[in-house]
Structures are given as C-alpha cells and as structure tokens.
Symmetry: C2
Subunit: 198 residues, 2 copies
Amino acid sequence: MASTDKPAAHSDKTEVESQPPNHSPCINLFLVDLPLRVLLFASTVVAIVLITTSKDTEIAVVSLAPSKFGPRAAKFTHSPALIYFLVAVSVACLYSILSIFASFSSISKPAPPKTLLLVLAFFDALFVGIVSSALGAAAGVAYIGYKGNSHVGWNKICNVYDKFCRHIAGYLTMALLASIILVFLTMLSTYSLYRRSR
Amino acid sequence: MASTDKPAAHSDKTEVESQPPNHSPCINLFLVDLPLRVLLFASTVVAIVLITTSKDTEIAVVSLAPSKFGPRAAKFTHSPALIYFLVAVSVACLYSILSIFASFSSISKPAPPKTLLLVLAFFDALFVGIVSSALGAAAGVAYIGYKGNSHVGWNKICNVYDKFCRHIAGYLTMALLASIILVFLTMLSTYSLYRRSR
C-alpha cells in the first residue's frame, strides 16, 4: 500500500495536498489490537479455569422434595447453559491465540494487509455473537441460582453452593470483559479500513 | 470517489490494469443492506409482539410445594431474563428503524458516505452483542422451563404452560434471526469499506 502511495506523492504533489486525510491513511492500529487480543486470551483462559474448577459439594437440601437430602455436588456439567458457555469460551480462546499470531505478524508493517483487517473484523463480529450469547445463557441460569424464581417454584441454590456461585460470578465477569474486547476489536479493524478507504 | 479514479485511469492505464480491484471500488452494497435491515425490523417486531402476548393462565401444579395449587399465570414479567430480552429487542427494533432511514438515504448514491458505513458497522457490532446476550439469557431460562433441572430441583413448566412456551420458541427464533442478520450487516459494512480501501 505504501509503495503505491509514494510514486503518486512524487509525481503529483498538488493532488496529494488537496486530500489531507490521505497523508496518513495507513495507520497501523495493531499496536492497540495486539494488547487487546492478549487481554482477550487472558480473560477466556481465566474463565475456562474458573468454570472447570467450580465443583462444590455440600450436604444440603436443594429442593423441596424430601428425597433430595444428602451430600450433593454442584457442577457446571449439570447445566446445558454452562456447558455451552465453556464450549463457546474455549473456541473464543483458540481464536484469540490464532488472531494474536495474525496481529503480531502485522504489527511492524507500515501498512498491514487490508485482507487481514477484513478477516479479523469478520471473525471478531462472529465471536461477539457467540461469546455474548454464551454469557447471556450462563448469566440467565446463574441469576435463577442466585435469586430463584418463586413464580415457577425454582429455588435459589447460591445460599448453599456459595463457592460454586462465586466461581460463576468470576467467569461471567471474564466473559463480559471478553465480549466488550471483541466489540472493540471489531470496531478497531473496521476503523483501520475506514482510515484507508476513499 | 468516482471522480478521483477517472483522471488516474486516463493518465496511467498500465497502473490501473495492474490493480484490478480498483475498477469498481465504490460498489453500493446498500441494495443488500436495506432489505436486511427491513428483515431485522420485521423479526424484532414479531419478537416484541410474541413476548408481550405470551401470557398463559393454567390450573396446575408448577412446584412440588403443596401451596402452589390453583390457577396461576405464566407471564414474561416473572423472569428478569425475559424482561431483559424485551428491552434489548425493543432497542434493536428502534435502531433498525433509524438504520433503515440511513440505508435508504444512501441506496441511490454511486458512492455512499464512508462515515455512514463506519457508524453502521460500529452500531451493528454493538447490537450483535446486545441481541445475542438477550437471546442467550432467554434461551437459557427457556431451556430450564422446557427440560427442568433435576440436579437442583427446578421442574419443567412447559408441560403445563404449553402456549407460553410456544410463544417463547417463536420469539427466540426471531431473535436468532435478528442476531444472524446483525452479524451479516456488520460484515457488509466492513466489506464495503474494504472494497474502498487502499
């Protein structure tokens, strides 16, 4: 990109001067992009660690049914929403690793390849949807665990499985952070393309 | 945009021939963008209608507690997840109306304003996150209503409130459609900027 700009600047100086936004069209925003992707990786890894270590066994009544007395474990595998959450965050973690390499490969270039910006923006937008839906699903179920729902007789469980619920709060926070980072990353790639557009 | 290309094509034909993507950099993708936004509006309106008309009163036992006998209504206001869903989809519906006007204003232009493309891509990405998280939250709670969760004593309610659950299935489908449309719209605006980038 820079190589196609330079001859134009040499051959026709007045044309370049009449288009002030063209002076720095190829800003490299990967200096912001890369740290955000590392943060995305860190948040997804912490979320995965928290969800996989969230088993909590308590001797407790977790239902109104008398047969439910006795020691019982709360595990994320008991909830399809939390399983979906783990799968979605794991895929997002893998994507963050791949995108860190892609971002790192372009950080030193004066004009990063525009196709890379497009591909990153596409996948970032897709992962905004995946991670946000997983966050919503896990948060919706966690809220019932935290508050219960008296209208349909679903009892809260966080008064019993406090350790389990603290873990849930932790990985929901991490997933919220990951979602926000992904929205910013989408905007960043789009803005880079905008700066280079005519 | 087109005017800046034409002099270049006249002055240096070989340079233009070596860059085939520059022949039609200003394609107007609003012809695809506008119908998608109308579809987004339609799906969110249907979702709003379905959620606000989803009240279902049944004489039923919805809990193991003996005091819960008698006629009871299932309403979306009983679930914070479904309230969040309604708010999120309503905001997305308002946004779709605004973006339809923006898209319509640029549909006939040979080169739509690039700032509009950037703003639409930003907001589309944001709404992917909002609508997807609402979809996840509502789907997570709906799944418990459909299947229950024996591990924590949450009983399924869809065997009783079948009309209510059919409505939920309807508006979840609409929200899924809206999420997918929003991802495509983000990609479309980004692709338009990509086609115009150097």
